[in-house]
């Protein structure tokens, strides 16, 4: 996993750095002091290496904690594993926010369209029933008008 790889790479870096800055090299740079105080030189060198290693490791831990890297590495490993059977390149942001937010909006727009179609259908049905009642009402009013006219004519 990424977490393990990260730790290994940092350890390797430190190992090689310590190997390069060997005691021999240190002593050869501080030759006169080494000749004067070999034990002290050794002690100073060991403390220097130890302190450098612990500072480096502390910094790495801090970076991991701040960035929540352990969790992210584990999560990314899982995502990569799930995509292992896929060969073709995956979608990537186009860099044009309009396009990218557009496709993120799509499911909501499709839902909204389906909703509108449904309520439009319901409204049209409702209106159809109301229209039937209106037509019946108009018919009844015509009937009443005719009856009144018949009575009037008869009296006349």
């Amino acid at each position: 996993g990424r977490s393990q790889l990260f730790a290994t790479v940092v350890d390797t870096f430190l190992e090689k750095l310590v190997a390069a800055g060997s005691y021999q090299r240190f002593a050869s740079c501080y030759r006169r002091f080494y000749k004067l105080q070999p034990q002290v030189t050794k002690s100073i060198y060991e403390q220097f290496i130890s302190q450098l290693q612990s500072s480096v490791r502390e910094e790495i831990e801090e970076v991991k904690a701040e960035g929540n890297l352990e969790k992210l590495f584990s999560s990314l490993d899982k995502i990569v594993e799930e995509a292992k059977n896929r060969e073709e390149p995956a979608w990537r942001p186009s860099g044009v926010p309009e396009e990218d937010t557009g496709s993120a909006m799509l499911p909501y727009l499709l839902k909204h369209r389906a909703f509108l179609l449904r309520i439009l259908g319901e409204k049209q049905q409702e209106n159809s029933r109301a229209a039937e009642a209106v037509l019946a009402g108009r018919g009844r009013i015509r009937e009443l008008q005719q009856l009144i006219e018949d009575h009037r004519q008869a009296w006349q």
């Binding site: 790479v9 800055g21 090299r25 009402g137």
Partner: protein, 200 residues
């Protein structure tokens, strides 16, 4: 061409290059700090040897020599470490899609199709508004009809009332009764005329 690693930044919350730069600067600072500390410890130890002929500037030269050597190796090794971390740890392979972006592959709509969809939605919204207005108009007409029907029924009832009164007073067919009355009145007039002539 620099790879901005924007997709990685989306996942991690920082660009990998920024992370590596931070680590580099921190490591470098520690190296310099440690070397300064080493030098100051050596100089302190030398204070205990007033007869020795090692000058502070000599110690400084030694420190610089060792530091230069360490920095060279540090830079080389860090560069290799950075390469590995950017390629294998802080990267998202090309075939990997982050979960939050699944929607882009589930709904592959082109720009034109998206626009069409938006227009269709707008149209549906207008249609719905129009239907809602039509519904209101129909219901308003039903209310008007109720009022008009009530008035017409009142008038019809009045006619029926009038005809009932006539029936109650023995005139079920007003036309016939009126014709009969007119006839009788005419007969009466004729009889009266007769009587007047005969009495003259």
């Amino acid at each position: 061409s620099v790879n901005p690693m924007a997709y990685e930044a989306q996942f991690f919350g920082f660009t990998p290059q920024t992370c590596m730069l931070r680590i580099y600067i921190a490591f470098q600072d520690y190296l310099f700090e440690m070397m300064q500390l080493v030098e100051s410890v050596i100089l302190k130890k030398l204070d205990g040897f007033p007869d020795c002929k090692i000058s502070p500037s000599e110690i400084r030269k030694s420190t610089e020599k060792f530091l230069l050597f360490m920095k060279e190796h540090f830079d080389k090794l860090f560069s290799k470490m950075e390469e590995v971390l950017l390629q294998l740890v802080l990267n998202i392979p090309k075939n990997v899609l982050l979960p939050e972006d699944k929607v882009h592959e589930q709904y592959p709509y082109s720009k034109e199709q998206f626009q069409e969809l938006q227009e269709e939605i707008q149209q549906l919204q207008q249609q719905y508004k129009a239907e809602a207005a039509a519904g209101q108009a129909l219901r308003a007409e039903l209310e008007e009809q109720k009022a008009v029907q009530t008035e017409l029924e009142k008038i019809l009832k009045w006619f029926e009332g009038l005809e009932n009164i006539c029936r109650e007073h023995g005139t079920s067919n007003f036309k016939e009764s009126f014709a009969f009355l007119t006839q009788n009145a005419k007969k009466l007039q004729d009889v009266l005329k007769d009587v007047e002539e005969k009495s003259r």
